[in-house]
């Protein structure tokens, strides 16, 4: 059976410590998403990316920016 693709918001990172900092912040503050391997559509330094639902973009980017946390790219993909 073919796997059903779903829309996803992906944040990429330049390095692992940035990804870990985002994960820690999101888990602590109950923000949506989880770490996944970087999809092949994206060129990123770090092999980890943050996957959330597309509708979480505004909330996530606002909260991460407020906390001074870095990501290198933001993508909307069908994964």
């Amino acid at each position: 059976m073919a796997r059903q693709k779903k829309p996803a918001l992906i944040l990429s990172f330049a390095k692992t410590t940035d990804a870990m900092a985002v994960e820690k912040f999101c888990m602590t503050n109950n923000l949506p998403g989880r770490l996944i391997p970087v999809p092949r559509e994206i060129t990123a330094g770090c092999g980890l990316s943050w996957r959330a639902a597309p509708q979480d973009e505004e909330l996530l980017t606002a909260e991460l920016s407020k906390a001074g946390l870095a990501w290198s790219g933001l993508y909307h993909l069908e994964l």
């Binding site: 390095k15 692992t16 410590t17 990804a19 900092a21 820690k24 770490l35 391997p37 092999g47 980890l48």
Partner: protein, 374 residues
């Protein structure tokens, strides 16, 4: 056995450190090498350790905490990574070979010019010498935070100089003396995990002030930017080629938790009071010569001595065989300090105390020295 060789490595570790290593060995994959549960377990643990260590040493950025195998590796990365042809460097007689040999090598290769601040017979420096030795091309001052032979601290506030990198070897003070690298003006702090911090051997690292650029000493696997020809520029990966010692770092992280729980001041006070008790007990024994400056007890918990004109190796062996007391004889990888103290031929016997030593053990050591000296 009474273990009084804690300046070499602390033998007794908190049980939580041992438990953390075992847990990590059962659960941690390769940090920064994947997104499955085991790899993420390692990545999270390593990141948490960076955050804790940054806070512990007053380093503003967790991503400027770099893990190494020990102080020697950290110092090699720092010294080889910041110095270039034509640079002048100032160091001191107090240094361990982990500072001296990387500097000597660069000097011998014609890369740097080296000036050394001399120590007197008590192992003290004249702080004005640092300013006197400055040259227009002085790039860095590389110095220990405390002598591994006498336990005397260097006052970094009197050493640092605007525009000159301050690279500090905290092997003897990390975990035993509070360090705030911002307050002390330290640009690169190099530490080991297995001494005062009471973590596992094979752990250590460096805390780097933001804006200090260090060329990688080793390059290779990074887990990021895999298709790039060169080592990634991003910190800390830039200086951490190869798989990290996640198991050891888990132990180090637990060790920092332990130090924070007990309180560094409490630990420092106890260690110093044990050293003081020992010093007071042996200093007047006939035939005992104690080395270093004991006018100030803001120091590390080291008391180094000799009995009569005896070879320090024989004294240490007698202490071990007859009394079951472990000390360290010989040169302690501190050749210039032994020259300053006049102990090159005899060596010296170093007694070094830790949080886990007791007053009873110290009393036994005093009695042993007394009996031997008679």
């Amino acid at each position: 056995m009474i273990y009084l060789d804690n300046a070499a490595t602390t033998l007794k570790k908190p049980q939580t450190v041992i438990d953390a290593v075992i847990t990590a060995m059962n659960t941690a994959g390769n940090a920064s090498r994947g997104a499955h549960g085991s790899s993420l377990t390692a990545s999270r643990m390593v990141y948490d350790a960076r955050v804790k260590i940054a806070e512990f040493f007053g380093c503003k950025r967790p991503d400027h905490v770099v893990f190494t195998a020990n102080s020697t590796e950290a110092l090699n990365i720092a010294i080889n990574g910041v110095l270039s042809k034509g640079d002048h460097v100032i160091t001191t007689d107090l240094e361990h070979n982990s500072v001296l040999r990387p500097l000597y090598r660069l000097e011998d290769e014609g890369v740097i010019k080296l000036s050394v601040v001399k120590a007197d017979k008590l192992g003290r420096v004249n702080y004005e010498d640092f300013a006197t030795l400055l040259q227009p091309n002085t790039k860095a001052i590389v110095c220990t935070h405390a002598s591994n032979l006498t336990g005397n601290l260097l006052d970094l506030n009197q050493i640092r100089h605007e525009g000159i990198l301050l690279i500090v070897d905290a092997s003897q003070t990390a975990g035993s003396v509070p360090i705030d690298m911002e307050a002390l003006g330290i640009d690169i702090l190099c530490f080991t995990g297995h001494k005062g911090l009471m973590g596992p051997q094979g752990t250590g690292g460096m805390c780097i002030r933001e804006g200090v650029e260090i060329r990688p000493f080793k390059v290779g696997g990074s887990g990021i930017w895999s298709y790039e020809r060169h080592q990634p520029e991003e910190m800390p990966t830039r200086l951490e080629a190869g798989t990290l010692n996640s198991h050891g770092i888990a132990g180090l992280s637990a060790a920092v938790d332990y130090l924070n729980l007990v309180g560094l001041e409490t630990i420092a006070n106890k260690e110093c009071s044990l050293a003081r008790m020992f010093y007071e007990g042996v200093k007047t024994i006939e035939g005992v010569t104690v080395y270093g400056d004991f006018s100030d007890w803001n120091r590390t918990a080291i008391v180094t001595l000799n009995l009569h004109d005896w070879d320090s190796a024989i004294t240490a062996d007698e202490l071990a065989e007859t009394y079951g007391i472990a000390t360290r004889a010989g040169a302690h990888c501190a050749p210039r300090m032994h020259q300053a103290l006049g102990t090159v031929e005899q060596g010296a016997v170093r007694f070094s105390f830790s949080w886990f030593n007791t007053e009873e053990e110290v009393q036994t050591a005093i009695e042993a020295v007394k009996e031997l000296a008679e």
